[in-house]
Subunit: 200 residues, 4 copies
Amino acid sequence: MRVALAARNVGKLDALAAETKARAIACDAANPQQVAELFGSIDAPDLVVYNPSYRVRGPFLQLDPAEVLRTLTVTAYGGLLVAQEALKRMVPRGHGALFFTGASASVKGYAESAPFAMGKFALRGLAQSLAREFGPKNIHVAHFVIDGGIGKASDPRAAARGADGMLDPDAIAQTYMDVYRQHRSAWAFEVDLRPWAEKF
Amino acid sequence: MRVALAARNVGKLDALAAETKARAIACDAANPQQVAELFGSIDAPDLVVYNPSYRVRGPFLQLDPAEVLRTLTVTAYGGLLVAQEALKRMVPRGHGALFFTGASASVKGYAESAPFAMGKFALRGLAQSLAREFGPKNIHVAHFVIDGGIGKASDPRAAARGADGMLDPDAIAQTYMDVYRQHRSAWAFEVDLRPWAEKF
Amino acid sequence: MRVALAARNVGKLDALAAETKARAIACDAANPQQVAELFGSIDAPDLVVYNPSYRVRGPFLQLDPAEVLRTLTVTAYGGLLVAQEALKRMVPRGHGALFFTGASASVKGYAESAPFAMGKFALRGLAQSLAREFGPKNIHVAHFVIDGGIGKASDPRAAARGADGMLDPDAIAQTYMDVYRQHRSAWAFEVDLRPWAEKF
Amino acid sequence: MRVALAARNVGKLDALAAETKARAIACDAANPQQVAELFGSIDAPDLVVYNPSYRVRGPFLQLDPAEVLRTLTVTAYGGLLVAQEALKRMVPRGHGALFFTGASASVKGYAESAPFAMGKFALRGLAQSLAREFGPKNIHVAHFVIDGGIGKASDPRAAARGADGMLDPDAIAQTYMDVYRQHRSAWAFEVDLRPWAEKF
């Protein structure tokens, strides 16, 4: 399996790229031109995962509208741009998988966190719509509700949350791979993941 | 009750403004400056209803990203702009109501209609978040899922849908007023409305 | 409007019956024979509201299965019995309304409260199914999610919850009447009600 | 892995028991005594899957209440009985997994199918409650929404549904095993499964 990683700040990908022998590519997911270039620079993908999000939080009346707009464009509109480039390549080949990473905020709008809810709700709406349009074209579209903090056991924030109290990225990845390998007679659209002792 | 109506194309409001003796004000809800001017030109409101939406639909791979972005900004980001201006005036007075008009697409992403789902899902996330933040400040935030076509019995499209097969705008308005008049010990957050014989 | 009230323990209805000049009738909602007799003793109703519930809670491993079964039969199966008798009379007349009272537990299964969740989830499934079958027969089926404690301001438990911190029964009743009076072009199926400052 | 299979009609299990070298045990899941005996006859289990359901469907006014009650007891109350016996053995050992099989009817009450919706909604409420109570005790409780017909490609009903148009039982089982093997830092509570071209 060959992997390409993309991020606005490609420096952040160094360790992961080294570990996975993946290519790291700079890309702002909310920029149509950059997304097109990203896909132009790689082979037609079998699986595309959309993780990007941007968030501002705090008392609603203090939010800067420009920052909220950025939340919407990175978290949701970028998902649309990436989905178009990905599906453009998957549909002619007759297969592929397109996964979207959501959050607790995908299904619940928390106080003082409207922008993140707006972005993640929107991304879920996109994913549902794409699943209904492209499932019958043999493209597996799925949405994951990540309900909790993400971090390795070695993460400094982990101690306060008890053993296995943060979602280990490798554990999340395992479930993504499990879903990717599902037989098409029984595809999951939505999976929620949270640590065993997480309140929900 | 004094009413102000706003729309991008203010000419569309003529008949309604005449009927209700309301002021009609031109405003693009996705434009922060125009939204601020709108609220600056009226008295502090007791009830604000956010209806605007914009939609493009069709096969996903043919969607123009700029049009999708417009869907998001009019349908959801505009709701945030209006909510900020409205709440800025309601919170100091210690009361008010802020209602958002959703659609079937608020809770289900239909095939070939991703942009509308993105906008309406996002608006619902906004409404949930605001209800949680501003309910305890005595502001009634509610979200309505309008599940069906809207039109008077005289609407040319109504005949094909059977008697009372489209949501009468006056019937919708009645429920909005009912919810506006609710005692705060029993506020509704979400109400779904559809014609009696509508499939759902 | 003439009202009939039913409860297992009819003595509990004395005050309410006196206040509303309603008939009070003893009936165990989970008993088919008694439900049939109840409906046989009154005129064909325009509106029927199903409120009964029974609950046991506590650590799951300590629950008595017989008590759990009672939760299911009173909370959900009784709703079915009442719905059959009510609809039997409404369908031939071509109109009527059938309302079900749910709870927070209708949409969320809380720890140490499985039986109540089972009963209230089941009742909601019943209500959805009936709305889809009988809406097109001009019967308005609706379900209300009552999310909070119910009590008058004078209730001894109210003080601890702050002003209007419990759902006033009259406020709930007002919304039920509002929904009952809805024009059939815009019927609500589900309304959630909670005190203004309630966490959700 | 050693497997025990239980069904009311144990003859139905012959082929599967032969294939899997599993023990087949007669048990009516709605009978507390039989469920206790079932668990008394096997070793403490690591994973328990609750599949049983019973359904009646048809016009609501023609339903036999006794049959509806049977739907509730087999589909939901039996799940509670099995959960108690299973958890009684898992909690002291400090680990285990308890999976519940739902259906489309777990989340949507279809017309003319109220009893099945009642049973499956109730089972989902049970599963949610147990996940919240026993997750923090290291017991993985999960609920699967099986949205479509189940059958092997060789099933006579499969042809009418197109290639892979029914959920292959082996494919469902694969996802159950994937979820069983999840690391507890990222447990799924709910997974929906449907054939790739299924409408939803």
